[in-house]
Subunit: 231 residues, 2 copies
Amino acid sequence: MSKSPVTPPLQRRERRVLTDDVADSIREAILSGRIASGARLIEDELAESLKVSRGPIRAAIFRLQQEGLVIHETHRGATVARVSVEDADEIYTLRRALERLAVESACLKATEADLAPLEAILLLFQSVPRSSMTRRRVAELDIDFHDALFRAAHHTRLYRAWEALRSQILVFLLLRDGLPDDYLTSWHRDHSGLVEQLRERDATKAVDAIDAHIQGAYARLREQLLQQSPA
Amino acid sequence: MSKSPVTPPLQRRERRVLTDDVADSIREAILSGRIASGARLIEDELAESLKVSRGPIRAAIFRLQQEGLVIHETHRGATVARVSVEDADEIYTLRRALERLAVESACLKATEADLAPLEAILLLFQSVPRSSMTRRRVAELDIDFHDALFRAAHHTRLYRAWEALRSQILVFLLLRDGLPDDYLTSWHRDHSGLVEQLRERDATKAVDAIDAHIQGAYARLREQLLQQSPA
DNA sequence: CTTCGGTCTACTGTTAACAATCTGGTTCAG
DNA sequence: CTGAACCAGATTGTTAACAGTAGACCGAAG
């Protein structure tokens, strides 16, 4: 009782291990563009630059592969995944299926404590002055919101499927070139509407809302991708 | 243009590496019940019994965790996942979402070459005398059929999500105690109907068919689970 | 100039030893 | 008797050295 005065024991604080730090470092390097799309990830190089042996590097690479950021081929090494328009199609069709189930499940199982984080993100979103909203920050808030939604679904396997997609979605959000003026307001409207419907436990309407949201996001993304590379 | 005379490049035959064999061994041991549900997987023990060092064992355990057969906790080791009624609920709701998308995608993208394996499994199913149909064999044919369906969807990320569920579904199929007399015939009817609708590219009907199929399978499973452990 | 064959190097896959952590029992104060 | 503190064994996390493979390079033959 003397160890933790205020914090309740709840679940044992999960130990962080070297592999976790390594995975975070490499993921951040990929997302920030410091390691380019398509570049090779050479275990020895990473091990030296992170001052760690190859063991944790390998484990981290497998994890990043699981997240879809990296492609690993036997005896040929790992490379940073390239994303194409077809990938966007895969990611958003699968995302749509997952989010529909998440909303449906959340309508049944979410407690008030699960919805609080969603509200918190909405408030945070409003409170931050728009001038200081970097693209990265907006993207992360967006991901955080949906992450909280998947948590609220209380569906372990669904959450893990989402984890396998999350970073890839973030990649797309980060390569948006500019956010339309009305994006921030419509973002807030969409998401707060969704929270309201979750609270009313109206599964049908909530699923329709998330469906429209994802479809809209994909339509905008697709348009931009086609503009950027009109191959 | 001169590179590929007759044989299309196909795909390079992917090299098998120790980790693959180890993962297969452990997976088989779990599915066959040789390693009980809830049992600990001790790296040294496995390493010794498989005559391999701990490296590949660890990699295999991570892979099996990804398949949902094993639960790994930092510094505390891995145990064979226990399955409960709630797990069945998670697995089948997620499976339903994935299979719906798979059918939808397959209606758009499947070629005749993709549908052939489905037909082949149906034929095989009919040609094998029912007396020699073990529970294991039936379960594997079932999984194989759906696996071919996911392949036919030509959707890499969807297929990987399916892979994360596949073995867990097999676990449930294997613990069926007895197959009702009419099961084998209705199985064939359901699946061949689905193939027919895929061939007609009728997405709406095909999705409805798979939906009914999964829901039915889940209903039967749920009934049995509740009977077995009426806790 | 192209193609075939062999060598060489850089890299991944594997191993075994070392370090850190957890678990369960034991002791001892209250 | 209860519970906290500690010790010891077992087990995982990490490291560094060894083994094997894939792809590039290069030179010779057609």
